[in-house]
């Protein structure tokens, strides 16, 4: 049974990936890409800046799997690998007991209710570690984060507003995000996410899709509506974006923890490919959860 799910998931993932690889838009390289002597994009060139002097994070970014083959530099948080946020910690993530139990269950089901497979918005860290790219569009008052993967549309307000207190607005899949500059680092704080209800972990009385809520990573590490997420975006150079994430969710974890993901620029002028999860519902059908 389990094998069957893995197989189904793999077939779908491969089908999805291959279609987006074969169906490319024509290339339209952006003007202003720094070039080395060989005429290729100079990925080590300094990060570009906007008119107001801030680093410009705009561009298409894709997961960079192995930026540090010799391990993280001393003092830096561990990288997320293999869809597992806790892989870099000796003792794993500091789960509360119920959260540890739920994570085990989700992992044992091989991601049956992973929101990515259910055609639901993913968790904020899941978007960063998805094999599909995302696009950042930086404007003076807001920064848009658009993932090629389903429903990854976040607005990060940089107009000076503060975060609405937890519970003041309805919870959203993609939360509410504000951004501030700390030197050359964009610090994004988010709250008011949809999350697991610790008193109703199994989603009794809720639609099945609610089992896809509160997935921090593909191992099913949960989060609740109490999560406050802090992301520190630093464009190290033209080609590299470093994102540090601190998860502060006392209902699901005994203490805050920080992990890191790395992204590399897509500078050849290719675009994100339209990805519509509901176009092909084979996974939902195979697992008995298609709408009809």
């Amino acid at each position: 049974m389990k094998r069957w799910f893995i197989l189904a998931a793999l077939v779908i993932i491969i089908a999805v990936l291959s279609s987006s690889l074969s169906a490319q838009w024509p290339l339209h390289p952006a003007p202003g890409v720094p070039k080395g002597p060989d005429g290729k994009p100079d990925l080590k060139a300094p990060a570009p800046r906007t008119a107001d002097g801030k680093p410009d994070l705009s561009g298409i970014w894709i997961r960079f799997d192995d930026p540090e083959p010799n391990g993280p530099p001393p003092g830096r948080p561990p990288l997320v690998r293999g869809g597992d946020a806790g892989v870099g910690f000796k003792d794993g993530l500091p789960f509360q007991p119920w959260a540890a139990e739920l994570q085990k269950k989700r992992a044992a089901e091989n991601g049956l209710n992973d929101p990515d497979g259910l055609c639901l918005p993913q968790g904020p860290l899941q978007y960063h570690i998805d094999p599909q790219p995302f696009k950042i569009i930086q404007t003076p008052r807001q920064i848009l984060y658009i993932s090629e993967s389903n429903y990854g549309l976040r607005t990060i307000y940089t107009d000076g507003r503060s975060l609405p207190p937890q519970g003041d607005v309805q919870p959203y899949w993609n939360g509410y995000s504000i951004g501030k500059w700390d030197g050359d680092t964009l610090v994004v704080e988010s709250n008011n996410f949809h999350g697991v209800d610790p008193s109703n972990v199994r989603g009794v009385g809720l639609p099945d899709s609610f089992l896809g809520i509160g997935w921090l990573d593909h191992r099913g590490s949960p989060y609740t509506e109490a999560m406050k997420l802090t992301e520190r975006f630093r464009r190290v150079n033209f080609g590299l974006l470093d994102i540090e994430l601190t998860v502060d969710d006392p209902k699901a974890y005994t203490k805050p923890f920080t992990v890191r993901v790395a992204q590399r620029i897509v500078a050849d002028g290719s675009e994100m490919i339209e990805f519509i999860c509901h176009e092909n519902q084979t996974f939902l059908k195979l697992t008995g959860r298609a709408p009809h």
């Binding site: 838009w25 339209h28 055609c119 607005t155 309805q170 993609n174 899709s209």
Partner: protein, 354 residues
Amino acid sequence: MKIVVFAIILSAMTTPLAAQWVDYPTPGIPRTADGKPNLSAPVPRTADGKPDLSGIWQRISLKYERNIAADLKPGEIQPWAQTLVRQRAEDLQKDHMSVQCLPWGPSYSNSARRAKIVQTPGLLLMLDEDLTYRQIFLDGRTLETEPNPSWMGYSVGRWEGDTLVVDSFGFNDRTWLDRDGHPHSEALRMTERYRRLDFAHMQIEITLNDPKVYGRPWTVSLSAELNPDTELLESVCNESHHSLEHWVGKASDEKKFEVMVAPEILAKYAGTYEELDYWGNRPHPAIIEITVSDGALFAELKGREKVPLVAQSETNFSGFYGLGISFVADAQGVVTHLLERRISRDYRFRRTTR
């Protein structure tokens, strides 16, 4: 039954209205002395002098959202397409993109949906509440001649004076052009013309050219109003598929339950009714005109087509958007109100003329 269909669509639409995002004044917008947004202020402009279309826009599309081909003659629509529209009506439009959690494709532009426009120097984004994004390239590139068909197509924009002209091509043929289900082929080309008239008003013209389905190109007009001091809400279709469990039957079923109502009773319902409980994105107060013709009752929501009502009892009628219409009389038997019945609740309309 048909009533269920509309009710579900409309109840889904009411959610964002009831559940407001945090109330935060949009910075940098013109305001009057009392601090309210100045809706008739001049059009804002970008650094290069072009109109800046950025903002949250509510499209207002009364006539063409249901029937984009309302101005075409039957002979200008391929017979197979007309048959398909009839079949889709009989099937209660349950394969509409909104039901199947799919992108609306070209019909986003013509539907009364809210869009967040973000204009940057080389790219304009249109973001929808269903978290679908559309990119319109303003970097001078030309439209591809053989694009890979996609749901949202490939769009490039250019300025003609103060009008943004957007040409699109490369749509797949899986979406409908409107609620009624007018189809299109992969040959569809769409040209949209956006002109921001003042701070809060935009005029939109859409020209559709699809010679495989329609005998001539034609143009529809709609408008949009800016929604200041708010944000785009999030509406994730796949949160619940339960609506489909109730989406059963055929449009013709309601005729099976039709009852005959005496003409003198129908005559008591005729008149003009004005909305008391404001609902939805339509202009308020909405007006419903009830008329009797050849022994049958008709209802016309101002700005839309007149539709025949099907009596389910002496006071309850289906055939109108939502669950239908019920008439309410006072103790003397004089009809004073009607109720526009929807799944979310009943909405009252007061009779203003007899």
